[in-house]
């Protein structure tokens, strides 16, 4: 039993080059959203097993945070898309929750770092270098970014493999999937690098860095909201 996604509020039309809008386009949209993350993964992360584990666990953590948020918001859904202010509240609560989770991630990471350093002292090897710490932060951020791209973009991308496409309301020439992929790409980049900045900020006690990350996250989310409401 396949769940039908309700696209009815978008304007749909068979595009003139319908022969080209096929599997190639679908793969193109998927790679647009995930390409840089995949490149980062293959070059930096796949060399070390520990980073792969970090990516997987941070992806899982992001998914769990999303489930908790959806559990909280479920009684209020489906939101009436005529009144757009509920989306603002949704974004603010979600961003606040995810930033709180980032702090929790940092605390867990500190404990892990202490364990790893103690182990390194026991086997008489050098402790974690700053590069290694930033790599772990990068892997964590990449997990979040990839999870975002997969859940928000790839899961609604299935119709893009068919012969036609959907266009957005405000820009009738842009396919909906293209916009979705570009936004997913932007957010993946934001997630990946904000984890590095946040971890650096927390470890150095730099207030500017620490505040920079939640502010950027909130601004990005709210900009999306303003596009919706205009």
């Amino acid at each position: 039993m396949k769940k039908k996604v309700d696209f009815s509020h978008l304007s749909s039309s068979p595009s003139p080059e319908s022969a080209i809008i096929t599997v190639a386009a679908g793969i193109g949209y998927a790679l647009l959203a995930l390409g840089p993350s995949l490149a980062l993964f293959v070059t930096v992360i796949s060399k070390k097993p520990f980073l792969i584990l970090t990516v997987l666990s941070s992806t899982l953590l992001w998914l769990v945070s999303l489930i908790v948020l959806s559990g909280f918001w479920r009684p209020f859904l489906p939101l009436n898309s005529a009144a757009s202010w509920p989306f603002a509240v949704l974004i603010i609560t979600s961003v606040a929750f995810q930033e709180g989770l980032r702090l929790l991630f940092w605390k867990v990471y500190k404990r892990l770092e202490d364990m790893l350093d103690a182990f390194a002292d026991r086997v008489l090897k050098p402790r974690l270098y700053p590069t290694d710490k930033m790599l772990i932060a990068l892997a964590g951020g990449l997990g979040h970014g990839a999870a975002h791209a997969v859940f928000f973009c790839l899961s609604v991308l299935t119709p893009a493999f068919g012969p036609a496409t959907f266009f957005t309301d405000q820009c009738p020439k842009l396919p909906f999937f293209l916009v979705s992929s570009i936004i997913a790409l932007a957010f993946a980049t934001i997630h990946t690098f904000s984890m590095v900045i946040a971890f650096n900020g927390y470890s150095d006690g730099n207030k500017v860095d620490q505040l920079f990350v939640p502010v950027v996250h909130l601004v990005a989310g709210m900009v999306n909201y303003f596009c919706l409401s205009s």
Binding site: K48, P49, F119, V123
Partner: protein, 291 residues
């Protein structure tokens, strides 16, 4: 064991190949198809039986067998599949951990007779890191040992290598110390047979039964029949469950059931995603509201 894998590869694989041939209109005649299928199945039996083949061929065939059986299991009705998975997880828990459990008796018998466990097991060998400078392929065990030593010696990859070796070391600590210390063969062999029994092979491999693979695939396949989001969620849940199981394996040092934790997480995440997450994410992404 060989006969059953032959049957799986020949008949189940043949059926799926016939579906694909019909769907994509592949121009092939039945005699060529029979010859190819028979060869595929025969090589599969040898790959699974003998351990002299390249490990990638054996692993590939085990994955193929797992996939084929899982595909046919997904043809069950939906509620039957979920109840079956939960019941099997509970049975696995009982059979491996209880003292009268059949699987536990089997493992203990195999350890006491110093034999391999007679089942289809998937062995995940550790990856040889090429940039560590050990380009030797003389045998997985020696390459693994040499990798640890070259991690100590090489100056240039010192900071890259050590943080990798030390953080992967805790999971396989006991095996490495028993190999590297170079004790006399009798002590080493009892250590190795003990470790074989708990699923850590002498080459540092982690062994996972093929039945576990099949039921993970059935879970993900059934999730795929609903929507893509459930697939991703269940995939992550199963990987997390496997990670937890491996950590418990390192902690308890005895044969553990691999099904319960992963199936529990998988089923939980499937129902949570289907009931809660999907509405939320579809609402947000269709209105292009992302955070």
């Amino acid at each position: 064991m060989g006969f059953s894998s032959f049957i799986v590869l020949l008949f189940l694989g043949g059926e799926i190949a016939l579906f694909l041939i019909r769907k994509f209109s592949v121009p092939i005649d039945c005699f060529t198809f029979l010859v190819l299928l028979f060869n595929f199945a025969a090589v599969g039996v040898f790959a699974v039986f003998l351990s002299k083949m390249a490990i990638i061929v054996t692993q590939g065939y085990l994955v193929a067998i797992g996939m084929l059986v899982a595909y046919w299991f997904t043809l069950l009705p939906e509620w039957t599949t979920w109840v079956l998975l939960v019941a099997l997880a509970l049975y696995d828990l009982a059979a491996v951990l209880l003292p009268v459990g059949p699987l536990r008796l089997l493992v203990e018998l195999a350890i006491s007779r110093d034999e391999d466990i007679p089942a289809l097991v998937y062995e995940a060998r550790p990856v040889i890191n090429h940039d560590q400078g050990s380009g030797e392929y003389e045998g997985q065990r020696r390459a693994w040992r040499r990798r640890r030593e070259s991690g100590n010696d090489s100056e240039s990859d010192h900071n890259i290598g050590t943080s990798d070796a030390e953080v992967t070391a805790p999971l396989i600590q006991n095996r490495v110390s028993s190999v590297v210390d170079g004790q006399e063969s009798s002590v080493a062999s009892t250590d190795n047979s003990f470790l074989e029994g708990i699923g850590l092979g002498s080459s540092g491999a982690i062994k996972l039964g093929l039945g576990d693979f099949i039921f993970y695939s059935v879970l993900v396949g059934r999730a795929a029949m609903y929507d893509f989001m459930t697939v991703y969620a269940c995939y992550l849940a199963i990987i997390a469950g496997l990670g937890v199981t491996l950590m418990l394996l390192a902690l308890y040092q005895q044969a553990l059931p691999a099904l319960p934790v992963s199936i529990a997480f998988g089923v939980l995440f499937y129902f949570l995603t289907r009931l809660l997450l999907e509405e939320f994410v579809v609402q947000c992404s269709l209105n292009l509201v992302m955070f």
